[in-house]
């Protein structure tokens, strides 16, 4: 399995500001994903973070709102830009590990509240 560290674990943000969430993995992984889980709902994939190229975004998510960096095989960041209360959510980083049959593991998540 992979050990995934996310920070911040929780934050309260002002409307209109931006926050960057960091995800660090203890081993090199090919696939890194960012999910959002709004209160009471299941996980929704925001984008796949590709090393050395732009992230691949899912329908309904755009780079201007959720810019992603993936500078190497162990690290990624997700920025939530120009936040509104609707962005209050848990944001989860996850990785796929081919050695574990492509099982997906999750970080502890970052709980953002926008006021």
């Amino acid at each position: 399995s992979a050990v995934i560290s996310q920070k911040p674990s929780r934050d309260i943000c002002q409307r209109g500001t931006s926050l960057t969430i960091q995800c660090q993995v203890d081993s090199q992984v090919t696939m890194m994903f960012w999910y959002r889980q709004q209160p009471g709902q299941s996980l929704t994939l925001i984008a796949t973070a590709n090393q050395g190229s732009e992230a691949t975004y899912e329908s309904g998510f755009v780079i201007d709102k959720f810019p992603i960096s993936r500078p190497n095989l162990t690290f990624s960041t997700l920025t939530v830009s120009n936040m509104s209360p609707e962005d209050s959510s848990i944001y989860l980083c996850s990785v796929g590990t081919p050695n574990s049959g492509n099982t997906i593991y999750f970080g502890e998540g970052s709980w953002l509240t926008v006021v």
Partner: protein
């Protein structure tokens, strides 16, 4: 459109009961089905199923996949209050697309 449907959405039982959680799916180019337990924030991995009819077991939890009927079940026997959580089913396609169900919220009362 690919979809994953879990049932029931919520379930309340008493300690010692046995529960069965259901997950049905419609996914193009199915590769695997995963079960997760989510208590606070991050889901924790339980099982990955790729072949029909082979039961995966871990303690009081077990799961099986039926690729013909396109569903999986997660069984928990002799439930404990610590089993209270949301149980998520996710299906992975060959292109690595992963789709989650809405989850089943299990509450185990003492």
């Amino acid at each position: 459109e690919d979809k994953v449907v879990q049932s029931p959405l919520s379930l309340v039982v008493h300690e010692g009961d046995t529960v069965t959680l259901n997950c049905s799916y419609e996914v193009t180019n199915f590769r695997s089905l995963l079960w997760y337990k989510q208590e606070k924030k991050a889901p924790t991995f339980l099982f990955m199923l790729t072949s029909s009819g082979i039961e995966k077991k871990s303690g009081r939890l077990s799961s099986i996949l039926d690729k013909k009927e396109l569903f999986s079940i997660l069984n928990i026997t002799a439930t404990q209050t610590g089993d209270s959580a949301v149980y998520l089913c996710a299906v992975v396609a060959n292109n690595n697309d992963m789709r989650f169900g809405a989850g089943t919220r299990l509450t185990v009362k003492p």
